[in-house]
């Protein structure tokens, strides 16, 4: 019925509509389908298995896919693998998605997956190999074109989490390819949302949409990434309209940007959590003294009441509002909210200077003691201010505190040699059991536990729960154990949590991004808005 009435009227209208569409297309080609992104760190290689650093991983995600992906909040979601399960404590089965093809048209098979898992171990001279994610797998089997079995030597729960870091390349394109072949684009054949177009090392990368991508197609025909390492030029490029989106907005400029109607800001809690590590193994700690500067006969930081007092003395809300200018949220855990094993039963310690003084008196320090606290001055958001502000809070409850901040290059070396008494560290991972193993596990060079446990905190109960979580192949069971381990470690104040950092992106009007917990900037998740 409508055909009859509308067809006589349609013919005169059609040319006008076409003309309008053509005009619109001619006038607005650049911002209808192109996206220009200012990155804060250099992408050093396009080979997705060459070096395990954030800027390279962020780029690889545009060209390649992984079996398991993490969503913007850090939750594991299906990638090239539609589903996975543990067949036995040491055998995992991954079912591949049907109908996935590489950008050159070859279909994805289990052979490509096995090849990609084998490849990191064959890379020579990698400054940061990906093998820590593949070492646990002792045998890989392609059962049929869409089924892969992975075997581990012992029960290993975090296997799916490890696989979010291994990108699947095309066996056909990459079999005899060198890292150089990836940088020229020859071997850069993936299943991801974009295809390679051009790479000028240290300057820019260009990609175009992969029309064969299996998932949601990005709205951008072409994306160019520009490397703008310094904060001020990066921001200037955005304000001048040379790029549409920048990551890592300089903190001091945020207030000014908030009032700029041409720019919108996107913020997301990151996985990076900052906390204080306390010397809990020496009986006389090098930076703890009485008020006259003489060593104390015992180490107060070993006393839980003193640790509780310190935690209560820190006004975390004031810290994030003032010293961090709102670029953080107070922390109670050593992983960000929403991350696997986050224990929401543990609440942020309320600011309570009276309670802190009382606890110090109970522990035998009614007049406090003297302490030097250490931190970085170029690593985390406003880190130097954070250290000074915490010193201010500690002084108020009678712990006479001095501050020593250093560039990260000298700081980490000294901290890892256990030279400090009270030191700031920021850590990011997507699972609480992972974090606890490195930060609160009893240090043991043979097993790799406690590699960043500067204060050598040691609690058999925590060790047991973390080991149990890592060996649990049932996700629910593993999460229960990880949560419990976090609860035990944090109730005992293995470390004193401070804050979770926020990451900030700035976008020109007309663009939108939700941000990601891993701080990555993904062109395929940036949208246009009116």
């Amino acid at each position: 019925m409508p055909q009859h009435t509308s067809s006589p009227r349609r013919s005169p209208r059609l040319p006008r509509l076409l003309l309008g569409a053509l005009l619109a297309g001619a006038l607005l080609p650049a911002w209808a389908a192109d996206l220009r992104i200012g990155l804060s760190s250099d992408v050093t290689s396009l080979d997705p298995h060459f070096v395990n650093i954030a800027p390279n991983i962020a780029f690889s995600d545009h060209i390649f896919d992984t079996l398991v992906k993490s969503d913007a909040k850090g939750k594991l979601v299906p990638g090239l693998a539609e589903s996975w399960r543990a067949l036995s404590p040491t055998t995992w089965e991954f079912k591949l998605r049907q109908g996935v093809v590489f950008s050159d048209g070859t279909p994805l098979t289990a052979e490509d997956v096995v090849f990609s898992l084998d490849r990191p171990a064959t890379i020579q001279n990698s400054p940061g190999p990906f093998t820590s994610y593949t070492n646990q797998i002792v045998k890989k089997e392609a059962i049929d074109a869409h089924t892969v079995h992975l075997h581990t030597a012992s029960a290993y729960g975090p296997l799916p989490l490890d696989l979010i870091s291994i990108y699947v390349v095309s066996k056909k394109a990459a079999e005899n390819a060198t890292t150089e072949d990836f940088n020229t684009g020859k071997a850069l054949i993936g299943t991801g949302p974009f295809k390679f177009a051009a790479f000028r090392k240290g300057e820019s990368i260009e990609v175009t949409r992969n029309e064969r991508h299996w998932g949601k197609r990005p709205e951008w025909d072409k994306v160019s990434f520009r490397i703008l390492a310094s904060g001020a030029p990066r921001l200037s490029a955005l304000l001048a309209g040379d790029v549409d989106v920048i990551e890592n907005v300089p903190a001091a400029d945020l207030a000014r940007l908030k009032t700029n109607s041409q720019v919108t800001l996107a913020q997301h809690t990151t996985w990076r959590t900052l906390f204080w590590q306390l010397d809990q193994f020496r009986d006389q700690s090098p930076f703890v003294t009485d008020h006259a500067g003489k060593p104390l006969d015992k180490n107060p930081l070993k006393d839980l009441r003193v640790r509780q007092a310190i935690s209560k003395a820190i006004n975390r809300q004031a810290l994030v509002d003032r010293s961090l200018e709102g670029l953080a949220v107070p922390a109670s855990n050593i992983n960000a909210p929403g991350i696997f094993g986050y224990n929401d039963a543990i609440k942020v310690d309320a600011y309570d200077p009276e309670g802190a003084r009382k606890l110090l008196a109970e522990a035998g320090y009614p007049d406090g003691f003297s302490l030097t606290i250490h931190g970085t001055n170029n690593r985390y958001i406003n880190d130097e201010q954070v250290v000074q502000t915490v010193a201010q809070f500690l002084n108020r409850v009678g712990i006479r505190t001095k501050v020593d901040t250093q560039p990260v290059a000298t700081y980490f070396g000294k901290a890892r040699a256990h030279e400090y008494s009270f030191a700031l560290l920021g850590w990011g991972s997507l699972a609480a059991d992972f974090t606890l193993r490195s930060i609160a596990g009893t240090p043991n060079p043979d097993t790799g536990w406690g590699t960043w446990n500067w204060g050598k905190y040691s609690n058999p109960k925590v060790d047991e729960l973390v080991a149990g979580a890592l060996a649990a192949v049932e996700p629910a069971e593993r999460e229960r154990l990880a949560r419990e381990a976090a609860g035990v470690a944090l109730t005992d104040l293995a470390v004193i949590p401070s804050h979770h950092q926020l990451a900030t992106w700035a976008l020109r009007k007309g663009f939108a991004y939700d941000g990601r917990i891993d701080e990555f900037t993904f062109a395929h998740e940036i949208r246009s808005v009116r």
């Binding site: 003032r322 010293s323 002084n395 901040t405």
Partner: protein, 301 residues
């Protein structure tokens, strides 16, 4: 007898110098400003509203307040505002001046003593001593002062004493060269010849007879170098190489406030900058006038 005569001569000389100096109102103003700054710096613990280096006195809730704000507990008005840690800017500037002035004068006196001794020895002894000292001076002066100071601070670490050492090491050469030049001229005069023939000991000739006649150019150089030392200390602190962050000097205050300039919180870096500027201008006015009155060629007939 001779001692008595020279004493009255010297007193008369100083009085003439003071009269000549007073001939310029601008220079007198500079001197008054300098004295006021030095006095304020010395009296900082008594006149500052807050001890800015005592972390227990600071309140983070008072951070980044504009000039004239009242503190959260109502006990104090921040006349020049507060910095990122809630530190009263006025107190911080007074304490900062104290560090700058102390470091500037201490470094200048030490560098003067060292450079002068070496310069005198070089100019008087000549020969190998002269060559050795002057080559050391040449090497020293071929490096920018800031570079020498930065290398030394990187080696020694932070602290007021380390800054003084770094400043002395980068400035002694100016005094050595100036002293040597003066000593070369004076050393050939008859009164030195006479002193030598009288059999006076070398130290006595050097310090009793040669040195007083080399002093005028040294005074001028020293006055200018105090300003240079204060500026250098501020530069080093600005670069984060000088003093601990909890005890900011003027340079560090400017550096800390610098990041807030774009967001309109000018007071955190502008006020310490003005204090630094006034100090250096006052020193330069005084030094300039001293140069005029001590140089016979510039003296009006």
């Amino acid at each position: 007898m001779t001692g008595g005569v020279s004493h009255t001569d010297a007193a008369g000389g100083w009085r003439a110098l003071a009269r000549a100096y007073a001939g310029s109102p601008l220079a007198l103003g500079g001197l008054a400003l300098l004295l006021a700054i030095v006095l304020a710096a010395l009296a900082a613990p008594w006149i500052a509203p807050q001890d800015p280096y005592d972390l227990a006195r600071l309140d983070i809730m008072d951070s980044r307040l504009p000039p004239g704000s009242l503190s959260a507990d109502g006990s104090l008005t921040y006349l020049l505002g507060t910095d990122g840690q809630g530190r009263d800017m006025l107190s911080a500037i007074l304490y900062g001046l104290r560090i700058s002035v102390a470091v500037g004068f201490a470094a200048t006196l030490l560098a003067l003593a060292l450079g002068m001794s070496l310069g005198l020895a070089a100019g008087y002894a000549g020969g190998r001593t002269d060559a050795l000292v002057m080559r050391a001076v040449d090497i020293q002066m071929s490096f920018p002062a800031i570079l020498t100071a930065m290398i030394l601070l990187a080696l020694f670490g932070q602290g007021t004493d380390k800054i003084v050492i770094a400043l002395v090491a980068s400035q002694w050469a100016y005094y050595a060269r100036t002293t040597r030049g003066a000593a070369l001229v004076e050393g050939r005069r008859e009164y030195i010849e006479a002193a030598r023939l009288l059999g006076l000991s070398t130290p006595r000739i050097l310090f009793r007879h040669l040195l007083p006649n080399c002093l005028p150019p040294l005074i001028v150089v020293a006055a200018l170098q105090v300003a240079a030392a204060i500026a250098l200390e501020a530069t080093l602190s600005f670069l984060g190489l000088g003093l601990p962050v909890t005890e900011p000097s003027l340079g560090l205050l400017i550096a800390n406030g610098f990041q807030y300039l774009y967001s309109g919180r000018y007071w955190m870096s502008v006020f310490p900058g003005v204090a630094l500027l006034l100090t250096i201008v006052a020193l330069n006015l005084v030094a300039d006038r001293l140069r005029e009155v001590l140089n016979p060629r510039l003296r009006p007939q």
